[in-house]
């Protein structure tokens, strides 16, 4: 893609074929024009640059850079214009200082240009004497220029003399001068800052640049520049010190000395002020970590007040954004919102503040407000803010489960190319949400090519490979990342990701080692390594250790949803209902309101047999977030527990419409089919699992589920083989889930002892029922009664029938049994499938 940029016209055009999109500085409008119009518009400006192989983001960025450069030069030259009166120059100085503050490149450009040729001293002197200039960058530059004119003249004469002696045409001299200007050559020599190393670099760069020019003997010419200019290198030498003394001794010296010292003092003051602000921000963060919210707020107020007095609104807004971002990391979203709103109040023209507000609203789940603020970001003239806004809108749609709409919006953000990796990463995540793993991988690949410094993109690739079950490749990519991305933050992330991957593969020893390393590198607010560690323990079947890690993590992080959710999940999946209930009761009220905690509460109520309350919670959630897959699957689960199989089936199918690859919904549909006495579709359970070579916990889980299906269709031998595979895996967390089914298979095959052994230690309802059946068949009525009693304790509604069948057949010992053994097996399998 080719683009034209003119700083003086404030225009950029991105050319596509015979048409172009025209962008004007400080305007969000984009106008479609023909190429002829573009040529006509740009040909009246003499500063048009042509950008090859560019994109929208780079073009817009260049437009603003060139605009600032053009503005700076004309503003500065206007300062030296003796036809403009002093009064009229003040606003120009202010504006120039503003530009310099925001755009150092423009300042450097101006220095490079203004040090190239000598200036009439009288023009500088007249403006320099004015006291209003004090302590400004403009003043420093003018002062430096004033004092460097002799040196500038020397450099200019030497350069011209070399070109003359080398018989360079004026075109060629101009070209070389242009190269040297861009390298800061004249500025460095003019201001006596050039040393031999700089000169050597210049020589090599000149050779490189002139290689393709038609300057004969460019190597000798470059060498000549180096040799002759070496006499003017001064930095660090006595000459430099003398130069400084000269400045001090010259006319107007007392005034100038004052301004130099003031400038120096200002620089030092600025640094001090910056350090002070950083120290205060650090203290505020500490207070937040300790949950001392009011003191943190007080300190923030003091900081902002002092910044408003000394540094201005912009700096205050920056600090507010910084602490608001930290509040977000601590899940203190109300505070994040409060501070980001204040930031936008202080600096309404700073569009970043609106991004922070929108983000806070997303975290507070107020998507309508979030949308409003993301849309404000779209109005910014800065392309980065626009892209952030657009990505934010896509984020909202993603959170609502509207993946196609989210995709449309992110494509819009990426339209014309952007210079930011974040929207690409977002797109990759969105594709992963929809199971489009290859496409997601390609995006990560693209990002890691374009942003090789970005470890996150490489880890994204590894994560997709793991999702694709290419575990070896994933591990290799993580190990590559470990070698190449060395910052502690990146190392922490990679150790944690690799550690978790190894846990999924059952390699628990190495997994824990890596996770421990990650924990050592992690910050207070980064709980992912700790949660991964707990999860690894859970997979390993070490629930006590998992609980210990989670409780330790929870301490001091009472507002971290992820920790709360994982702890509740651990308790519920482990059948520790009263613990879960107690833990939930003690949570802060605001924490109970989060969506994920509400889902866990619903599960808890379901386990307690409070189906209506459980369903009510999920229905409320569903009304607000109709495509929240986790909630929808949970809803289906409650419905099936209530034996409302048709409704449950519809709910699972609705989930599959959002994500056709969703494993829970796929299995749910098959379980419902079985409940309706329909043949179960094995393929929808296997999906992408390699049955012959299982590796991960997900593989074994699918094998267990497939084993159940095999039993249900009468392939008992096959089913047993599969269930044995699970039993022999290192994932003890899965054993409890499938032991009852394994036992059932053994029983069907006449292997009574093995059947009993498989469920002897079972502590879940299906296990107790299975034990009751075995004891019943053996005529051990008391033991059977005892087991059934255990099963009746907190059993879900859908187990009522099988409990009744077992009681009727083995406990009450009716002479003419109503149910055959096959009937009981069938009902047991139905229950097991539903429970799975």
């Amino acid at each position: 893609m080719e683009a034209y940029v003119s700083g003086s016209a404030g225009l950029a055009a991105i050319v596509v074929g015979n048409h172009a999109k025209l962008y004007k500085v400080n305007s969000t409008e984009v106008i479609d024009v023909t190429i002829n119009i573009v040529h006509q518009l740009f040909s009246s400006n003499d500063d048009v640059l042509v950008l090859k192989n560019t994109n929208k983001s780079q073009t817009i960025k260049k437009l603003y850079t060139e605009k600032n450069k053009a503005d700076c030069l004309i503003l500065f030259l206007s300062l030296l214009d003796d036809m403009i009166d002093f009064e009229s120059k003040y606003p120009l100085i202010e504006h120039l200082n503003d530009i310099f503050d925001k755009d150092l490149e423009a300042y450097d450009y101006l220095c490079n240009v203004m040090f190239t040729r000598p200036l009439p001293i009288i023009n500088i002197k007249s403006i320099l004497d004015d006291s209003l200039l004090l302590n400004s960058k403009v003043q420093s530059l003018l002062s430096l220029l004033f004092n460097s004119q002799d040196q500038i003249k020397k450099c200019n004469e030497l350069f011209n003399s070399i070109c003359d002696r080398r018989k360079l045409s004026s075109d060629k001299s101009s070209y070389v001068e242009g190269i040297l200007i861009n390298k800061g050559f004249f500025y460095n020599f003019g201001s006596k800052q050039a040393n031999n190393h700089f000169l050597q670099t210049i020589q090599f760069e000149l050779i490189e640049k002139l290689k393709n020019s038609n300057i004969d003997d460019y190597v000798n010419f470059s060498s000549c520049i180096r040799t002759e200019f070496s006499s003017l290198t001064t930095v660090g030498s006595n000459e430099a010190k003398i130069h400084l003394q000269e400045i001090e001794e010259e006319g107007h010296k007392s005034e100038r000395k004052k301004t130099i010292y003031q400038a120096k003092a200002k620089k030092e003051n600025n640094k001090d002020a910056y350090d002070r602000v950083q120290a205060q921000i650090k203290k505020i963060r500490e207070q937040l970590r300790l949950r001392l919210i009011d003191p943190a707020k007080r300190m923030a107020h003091e900081l902002i007040e002092s910044q408003l007095k000394n540094g201005g609104n912009e700096f205050a807004a920056q600090s507010l954004c910084s602490i608001s971002e930290y509040a977000k990391k601590l899940n203190l979203f109300e505070l994040q919102l409060e501070w980001s709103l204040l930031a936008s109040e202080k600096a309404p023209n700073d569009y970043r503040t609106y991004g922070h507000i929108a983000d806070a609203y997303v975290n507070l789940d107020d998507m309508n407000e979030a949308k409003k603020y993301f849309e404000i970001c779209l109005k910014s003239i800065d392309n980065n803010h626009q892209v952030y806004g657009q990505t934010g809108l896509a984020r909202i749609e993603r959170s609502r489960g509207n993946f196609p709409r989210a995709m449309e919006l992110i494509e819009l953000a990426l339209d014309g190319g952007v210079d930011d990796s974040a929207p690409y990463i977002f797109k990759a995540e969105l594709l992963r949400d929809q199971g489009m793993l290859k496409e997601a991988f390609d995006i990560y690949e693209l990002v890691s090519r374009n942003y090789p410094e970005l470890g996150r993109a490489v880890c994204g690739k590894a994560a997709v490979l793991a999702e694709q079950k290419k575990f070896d490749d994933a591990e290799e990519v993580y190990r590559f990342a470990l070698k190449n991305y060395r910052s502690s933050e990146e190392q922490c992330f990679i150790f944690s990701s690799l550690g978790f991957l190894l846990a999924r593969l059952g390699k628990f020893t190495e997994s824990h080692k890596l996770l421990d390393k990650s924990i050592n590198l992690s910050s207070f607010e980064d709980v992912v390594p700790l949660l991964s560690k707990a999860k690894a323990f859970q997979m390993e079947g070490k629930t006590k250790e998992a609980e210990k890690v989670l409780l330790k993590t929870f301490k001091g992080r009472e507002s971290f949803n992820d920790v709360i959710e994982q702890l509740l999940d651990l308790y519920i999946s482990n059948g520790e209902i009263s613990k879960a209930s107690n833990f939930y009761t003690k949570l802060k009220e605001e924490m109970k309101e989060s969506d994920i905690v509400q889902i866990r509460l619903s599960q808890l109520l379901k386990e307690q047999g409070e189906y209506e309350d459980s369903l009510q919670i999920i229905d409320k959630l569903k009304a607000r977030r109709p495509k929240y897959i986790l909630a929808l699957n949970e809803r289906a689960s409650i419905l099936k527990t209530k034996e409302k199989y048709r409704e449950a089936l519809l709910q699972y199918k609705a989930v599959l419409e959002i994500n056709v690859f969703d494993r829970v919904a796929n299995l749910g549909v098959q379980a419902m089919n079985f409940a309706f006495n329909k043949r179960v579709d094995e393929k929808s359970i296997i999906l992408d699992i390699n049955i012959s070579n299982p590796k991960s916990i997900e593989d074994y889980q699918a094998i267990g589920e497939l084993g159940l299906v095999k039993l249900s269709i009468g392939e008992t031998e096959n089913g047993k083989e599969l269930l044995l595979q699970v039993k022999n895996s290192s994932f003890k967390s899965l054993h409890a889930r499938f032991n009852a089914a394994l036992s059932l298979a053994g029983l069907k095959l006449g292997q009574d002892n093995a059947a009993l052994k498989a469920v002897k230690k079972s502590k879940n309802s299906v296990g107790f029922i299975q034990k009751a059946v075995i004891y019943g068949m053996q005529g051990k009525v008391n033991l059977a009664r005892e087991s059934l009693k255990q099963a009746e304790h907190h059993h879900p509604q859908y187990m009522n029938k099988v409990i009744e069948m077992v009681r009727n057949t083995y406990i009450n010992a009716a002479n003419d049994a109503i149910y055959s053994q096959e009937d009981i097996y069938h009902e047991q399998l139905k229950v097991m499938l539903i429970a799975a």
Partner: protein, 284 residues
């Protein structure tokens, strides 16, 4: 001057069409763009006759006459950004010419990415060999040029440009496209005019849009210049030769111009005044 046969009146020898002086005797032979417009005058007159017939049949003679008077009072205006305007108008400023024209352009030149406008093909059809000496502006009734080109509008003093200005029906790119003219073909006659005949060109172009209710300059300004973002339509003024600051009559800005432009405009006000240039800031 020149004869109808294309000879220099002083030495009676053929002259180079792109020159202003005869190569042989150095006598003044006028400006090439104006000579070309004079050459086209008959074709413009032929076109004008047909237009007048239409105007008469619609009984719009009075409106046409009003429009003629308005166009005769119209001025030539060029729109630029202030940042590009100052170096253009301030030819005598040594600092501008050194640092803005030379040093800054050398820096750009070294980047090897200078713009090479593809205007020649179309513009050389109109002004062969001398298109680079022509400045392009708009004929305007309200001292405002085409906003598309910049937020500073420079109105020229008639007496310093009228002898070297010709007018063309519209933007040559649009014209070439509309008339399906390909490179190598001539531009059809009747679409250009001298200063004195510009009203005929304007009437030929816009007569279809005239209605009896149009009376004042305000009524006519949107007929003479149709501001449309994608493709503004206006009568293009072609000014031969350099534009000296003394040629500028007035500089107009709109209050929504960017900050740098507005600051430079305000800072240069006294300078404009010294140079006898009127200034005006208009609200949106």
């Amino acid at each position: 001057m020149t004869t109808e046969e294309g000879l220099c009146k002083s030495c009676n020898t053929p002259f180079n069409n792109s020159r202003t002086l005869c190569d042989v005797c150095q006598s003044d032979i006028g400006f090439p763009n104006v000579r070309a417009a004079i050459k086209n005058q008959k074709l413009l007159d032929d076109r004008f006759k047909l237009v007048m017939a239409s105007i008469n049949s619609r009984q719009l003679e009075v409106t046409a006459n009003n429009y003629k008077n308005a166009v005769n009072d119209a001025s030539v205006v060029i729109a630029r950004s202030m940042t590009s305007l100052l170096p253009m108008i301030d030819n005598s400023n040594v600092l501008l010419s050194t640092f803005h024209h030379q040093v800054a352009s050398n820096a750009r030149l070294a980047e090897n990415n200078e713009f090479d406008p593809k205007r020649e093909a179309v513009e050389s059809l109109l002004h062969p060999f001398y298109y680079k000496d022509v400045h392009y502006a708009a004929l305007s009734l309200d001292s405002v040029g085409i906003k598309y080109y910049g937020d500073v509008h420079i109105q020229f003093k008639d007496n310093l440009i009228k002898h070297r200005t010709s007018f063309f029906e519209e933007n040559p790119f649009n014209f070439v496209k509309k008339h399906k003219i390909i490179v190598g073909e001539n531009i059809p006659g009747g679409y250009s005019a001298t200063w004195e005949e510009k009203w005929k060109l304007a009437l030929c172009k816009s007569h279809a849009n005239l209605t009896s209710d149009l009376k004042s300059n305000d009524d006519f300004k949107n007929i003479l210049v149709v501001e449309c973002e994608k493709n503004p339509d206006f009568i293009e003024a072609h000014i031969f030769g350099t534009i000296h600051v003394a040629c500028i009559n007035k500089v107009t800005m709109f209050s929504d111009a960017d900050k740098t432009s507005m600051l430079l405009f305000n800072a240069n006000k006294s300078k404009f005044s010294t140079l006898n240039i009127d200034t005006e800031v208009r609200g949106m």
